[in-house]
Symmetry: C2
Subunit: 273 residues, 2 copies
Amino acid sequence: VSAPFGCWIDGVPTDRLRVPDRGLEFGDGLYETMAAVAGRVRLLERHLVRLAHGCERLGIKPPEPSLLRAEIAAAAAVPGAAVVKLVLTRGAGGHGYAPAPRLAATRVLTASGLRARPAEWWHAGVVVRRCDLRLGDQPALAGLKHLNRLEQVLARAEWTDPAIAEGLLLDVHGRMVCGTMTNVFAVFDGVAVTPRLDRCGVAGVMRGALLDALPRAGVPVAEREVRPADLAGASEVFLTNALIGAWPVREFEGVTFAPGTVVRHAQALVTEW
Amino acid sequence: VSAPFGCWIDGVPTDRLRVPDRGLEFGDGLYETMAAVAGRVRLLERHLVRLAHGCERLGIKPPEPSLLRAEIAAAAAVPGAAVVKLVLTRGAGGHGYAPAPRLAATRVLTASGLRARPAEWWHAGVVVRRCDLRLGDQPALAGLKHLNRLEQVLARAEWTDPAIAEGLLLDVHGRMVCGTMTNVFAVFDGVAVTPRLDRCGVAGVMRGALLDALPRAGVPVAEREVRPADLAGASEVFLTNALIGAWPVREFEGVTFAPGTVVRHAQALVTEW
């Protein structure tokens, strides 16, 4: 994502956020990073549902859905917009961690271009590493796309080699959870398996869309435990997020994979969305 | 902390932060909440050392110490300033979680008044509850005063009764860690014991100052495991942070405590700082 070429705060075109705001003070908020394709936001309904669910879990007062829709549509309509990002904070006010009652959430919306990546990452696949950092268990925050992302920042800082597209994160029990910015699927005996995200990790919108759509395309899915060593037995492994869609994994810890039929199914679905 | 009456961003008097900034996007930064007493910041050196240590652990480029000192001194000199808060973010820029190289950190500095609290909280002590939320283990972030504070926000949202001053947090193993905004000490056999903070929790500046100073005042200290049930056997329990100094705990889960000699020692030390 390059520097934004459109920015609105609470509907006003500005890139200046009044501080203090609980988003900056405590990471007290949520965000959605959405793909805009020809002026339209892909999987918009899923983004809005996830955001509303996050607001409910964190006790943040959600903005009017019609307002959000209009603002997001306007951002997506900016010529060249490929990424629309909404940061929604609990707002400004309170005594320390205790928020003032009935705070109005702050909406920070940006429209940006898409970061350039090699086309072969979609076709031939990506090289992936294992991160040393382990995701901490926190069921109260698991699955949410919240603003407390230092674990991801530290994990992403573990490598600088641009040939490595992503790092996979394990939890403290040694189970695979997700990538720093993606969810992971591995196909075992024809079943597209992705880890549960009830103790840590982010429940990506693309992951959710594929869990719903793949079975209708004849590919059974399952959420269950995956350990790194299990990947050697997978017929294919792929990564997903809202911006990239799906990348086949080409190599992980010396094991190589060919892009399989499931990731091609997934990529075809994404083009329809 | 009431609404700030002075705000500076990167040295400029303004309350408008240019977004995107990694502090807002990811909670990618640190903060220090400092007590200003008659225009002087209490335990300033300890705050600066903790901040520098946090920058080192997170790989944030620290601002020039002389610049920070000058800016903090100016904020503390604002008439009526009782709280000087510095939010230091990694800065603006990067591709997602990966920061751009050599980012300049963003400094958001505010001067505010002190939140009014009953004087008896210092004299007779406070009523404290146990929080349901358990702090997740994350050694990579443990001890740091970083901007990922959703656990504290959720824990603090568990109660609204203004007669309860603080909530104590346990880790996933059932060990006591700290309060939502304080560190905790319990005195056993004359030893002031406070939990280790190597897996979660914030290493408070006041906690550190007391761990150093109490032994010189004849009170031995120890960092070791404390479980909630152990508190019934403590001769006194108290809470500390940079703003409040030390509050005796008067009641926790039906067990009552009288303020003891150690918390009075601690309070006397704070008046000297």
